[in-house]
C-alpha cells in the first residue's frame, strides 16, 4: 500500500490501478529495450523491429505456416500422472494450470494443411505449456503426426520449443526419446521429408532426439539450441560462456543447422524445400504473410 491507496476512498483505487490498462498493449523488446505496440508486433509476426523473434504458440504457427485453411487434429490421450508425482504442487494441478493458461491439452498441437500448395502435417511444440516439455502426451502426438504424414504421403514439419523432458513423468518421459526416434524412422522408410524448425528455446532430451534428426534443420534467428543448458555448462566448466554460445547463428557455424531463417521467410523456404524433395514443379506464387486475426493469440496463452 502506498500513500495514494491510503487516502483514496474505497472504489476510487480501481481508477488508479494499472489493471485498467490492458496487459501487453506495449511490449518491450528484450534485445533493444524498445517499446513496441502490440498491433505492430502482430503485424510483424511477433518479431520486434530490433529483430528479436518472440516465442509464439501453435495457433500463430499454423496461421503463419499454412497457405490458408488448415485443420487441427485431436491429440492422443495418454495415461495421466502415472507416477503420482508431487513436488510443491501435485503434477495434475500443474497440468490443469497449463491447460487453463493455454487452452490446450498438452505441449504439442498437430494440424494438416497446405504449404506452398503441398499437403503437409505440421507439429508445433508450445513453450507456454510447462516449458514445452516432452512427456507422454507430446511423444504420442509426435508419433501420431508422423503416422498421419505417412498415411497422407505428406511431409512432416515440426517447430520445436522445449526445455527438455518432463521430469514429472520420470523415465516414461525419457522413453519419448527412442519413441519419437522410431516415428522419424517411419518417415524415412516412407521416403517423406521431415523438416525441423528450431525455435527458442530447444534443449535437453528434445534436442537429443527428434530435433536433431531432420532431413533439414532450419533455425529462427537467435534461438537457444543445445543439449545442456548454459547454466549447467557454466557450473561444470566454471567458466563464462562466449557471447552467442548455443544460439542459432553459432549452430550454423558449427554445422548443426542448415540455415538460419527469419520467421517471415520460413513458409517460402519450407515450400521450396518440400517441393524439390517431393519432386513437384516449382511454384511461382507464394502469398506473402499477412497478420492473422487477433483472437488467435489468446488460444495459445499469449503471443510471447
Amino acid at each position: 500500500m502506498n500513500w495514494l491507496t491510503k487516502i483514496t476512498p474505497p472504489g476510487m483505487s480501481k481508477i488508479f490501478s494499472k489493471r485498467d490498462t490492458p496487459d501487453n498493449l506495449w511490449v518491450k523488446c528484450p534485445k533493444t529495450g524498445e517499446m513496441v505496440f502490440h498491433k505492430d508486433l502482430e503485424a510483424g509476426l511477433f518479431v520486434t523491429p530490433g529483430g528479436h523473434h518472440m516465442r509464439i504458440g501453435p495457433s500463430w504457427r499454423f496461421q503463419f505456416t499454412f497457405d490458408g485453411e488448415f485443420k487441427e487434429l485431436d491429440t492422443p490421450e495418454v495415461p495421466r500422472d502415472p507416477l503420482k508425482f508431487k513436488d510443491d504442487k501435485p503434477y495434475t494441478s500443474r497440468i490443469q494450470a497449463a491447460r487453463k493458461k493455454t487452452g490446450r491439452d498438452d505441449a504439442m498441437a498437430i494440424a494438416v494443411g497446405h504449404i506452398d500448395g503441398l499437403e503437409s502435417v505440421v507439429l508445433v511444440q508450445n513453450f507456454a505449456f510447462m516449458g514445452g516439455s516432452l512427456g507422454m502426451a507430446a511423444g504420442e502426438s509426435f508419433i501420431k503426426a508422423a503416422e498421419e504424414a505417412v498415411k497422407r504421403k505428406a511431409p512432416l514439419v515440426v517447430y520445436t520449443a522445449a526445455g527438455g523432458a518432463r521430469m514429472q513423468e520420470g523415465a516414461l518421459s525419457l522413453m519419448q526419446m527412442p519413441r519419437t526416434t522410431i516415428a522419424v524412422e517411419m518417415l524415412r522408410e516412407a521416403g517423406l521429408p521431415y523438416i525441423v524448425v528450431l525455435t527458442d528455446p530447444t534443449t535437453g532430451g528434445v534436442t537429443a532426439s527428434y530435433a536433431m534428426l531432420g532431413d533439414v534443420h532450419i533455425a529462427e534467428p537467435g534461438a537457444l539450441v543445445g543439449f545442456a543448458g548454459p547454466r549447467v555448462i557454466e557450473q561444470t566448466i566454471r567458466e563464462k560462456l562466449p557471447e552467442g554460445f548455443q544460439r542459432s547463428e553459432y549452430l550454423l557455424e558449427k554445422g548443426m543447422v542448415d540455415k538460419v531463417v527469419h520467421r517471415r521467410d520460413i513458409p517460402a523456404t519450407l515450400g521450396r524445400l518440400l517441393r524439390v524433395m517431393m519432386k513437384r514443379p516449382g511454384s511461382s506464387v507464394r502469398a506473402s504473410l499477412t497478420p492473422p486475426p487477433a483472437d488467435h493469440v489468446v488460444a495459445d496463452g499469449g503471443g510471447h
Partner: protein, 326 residues
C-alpha cells in the same frame, strides 16, 4: 572378511563399526594366539549379527540409498564385466571424425562362444582412470564411436551387448560445439535400426539421454540396485526445489528403481544382486548378468533383421500406451 579399503556408505555406518570390531577381535586372536572358545564365539556372534544387519539393510533400500549403491565406487564397472564375460576382447578406439573418447569403451570379443560387439560406459576405478574416462560422461565422440561399432556389428551380423553406467552425457563447451545432442540422437537411432540383437544392461546409473543412446535395445535389463532416470535426482531437485540437497525426495518422486521401472514396463528384467550388493560380490553378480544376457541371446536366435527391428520398435511404442496397459 572386513576389508579396510572398503568404502562404506552413510547408511552402512553401524555395519562398518561391527565389521571393525570383528576385525579387531580376529587380529587380537591372531597376535596373542588367543584361540579361546570365548573369543571365537564372540567373533561368530558378531559376524552373524553383521550378516543379519546387512541383509536387513539391503532388503529394503529406499530410492536414495539405491542411488548411492548404484554409484558405489567399488561396484563392478564395464572394465570388470568385460574381463569377466568377454574372451578375446580387442578394444576399438576412436570415432574416425574427431577423437577417441574413453568414457565409452567398446570392441570385439567372444561372449560364451559367440562373436559379439560390446559397448559400455566406463566410470573408472581410481583418480587417474576416472579422469581418463571422464567419470563415464561421454562426449559426442563416444556416441559416434558407438555408432561406428554398431555399423560394424551390422556388417558382420554380430549381436551387440551394451553396459549402461553413466550419470549422463558430458555438459561441456566442446561437447556442445561438436553436436552432443545430434550424437546422442543418432546413437539412439542406430540402436533402433540395428538388424542384429541388442541386449542392454543397466549396471549402475542409467542417466538420461546419455544412457538411452546405448540402451534402446531388444531387451533392457537392470541390476537390482541400479537406477534409471530422466535426470539425476540432484538435477531434478535443483530444478524443482532450487535445492540439490533434496535429491532424496527427487529420487523417490521420479521412481528410479528397478521395481518401479518393471512396473512401468520400461525394463524387461531385473537381475537380483547378492545380499550386500554387487560391490560385495562382484564375481557372482557378473555371472548372473552373463547368464541373463545368454538367455536373451538364445531367445533371439534365428530372428531376421526385420523381425529384430520390428520387435524393438513394438517394444518401445508399447511403453506408456493406454491400450498397452492391461
Amino acid at each position: 572378511m572386513s576389508d579396510p579399503t572398503r568404502t562404506y556408505l552413510d547408511f552402512e555406518r553401524p555395519l562398518a563399526e561391527l565389521e571393525a570390531k570383528i576385525e579387531e577381535l580376529e587380529n587380537l586372536a591372531g597376535t596373542s594366539g588367543d584361540d579361546s572358545p570365548d573369543t571365537a564365539e564372540e567373533t561368530a556372534r558378531l559376524r552373524h549379527k553383521a550378516n543379519e544387519q546387512l541383509a536387513a539393510l539391503y532388503s529394503k533400500l529406499d530410492p536414495w540409498r539405491k542411488t548411492q549403491v548404484a554409484r558405489h565406487p567399488e561396484r563392478p564397472h564395464f572394465r570388470d564385466y568385460r574381463k569377466a564375460l568377454i574372451e578375446d576382447f580387442e578394444e576399438l578406439c576412436g570415432d574416425r571424425r574427431f577423437s577417441e573418447d574413453a568414457a565409452i569403451v567398446g570392441g570385439l570379443g567372444r561372449f560364451r562362444g559367440r562373436s559379439v560387439v560390446v559397448i559400455g560406459h566406463e566410470k573408472g576405478h581410481d583418480t587417474e582412470s576416472r579422469i581418463k574416462h571422464n567419470f563415464g560422461m561421454a562426449r559426442p565422440e563416444g556416441y559416434r564411436k558407438a555408432i561406428r561399432l554398431m555399423d560394424m556389428a551390422e556388417k558382420f551380423d554380430l549381436p551387440v551387448l551394451t553396459f549402461v553406467d553413466t550419470a549422463g552425457a558430458y555438459p561441456g563447451l566442446g561437447a556442445e560445439e561438436r553436436g552432443q545432442s545430434e550424437a546422442i540422437a543418432r546413437s539412439t537411432e542406430r540402436c533402433l535400426t540395428l538388424g542384429t540383437p541388442l541386449i542392454s544392461t543397466i549396471t549402475g546409473e542409467g542417466g538420461s539421454g546419455g544412457a538411452v543412446a546405448l540402451a534402446s535395445g531388444n531387451v533392457v535389463m537392470m541390476l537390482e540396485h541400479s537406477i534409471y532416470s530422466v535426470i539425476s535426482p540432484e538435477g531434478c531437485a535443483s530444478i524443482l526445489w532450487k535445492d540439490s540437497a533434496r535429491a532424496k525426495d527427487a529420487a523417490v518422486a521420479m521412481k528410479v528403481t528397478a521395481p518401479d521401472l518393471m512396473a512401468l514396463k520400461i525394463v524387461d528384467q531385473t537381475i537380483p544382486e547378492p545380499i550386500g550388493g554387487a560391490h560385495r560380490h562382484p564375481a557372482e553378480t557378473m555371472q548372473a548378468v552373463g547368464n541373463a544376457i545368454e538367455q536373451h541371446l538364445i531367445a533371439l536366435d534365428g530372428k531376421s533383421p526385420a523381425e529384430l527391428r520390428q520387435q524393438r520398435r513394438e517394444r518401445f511404442l508399447a511403453i506408456g500406451r493406454l491400450d498397452a496397459a492391461e
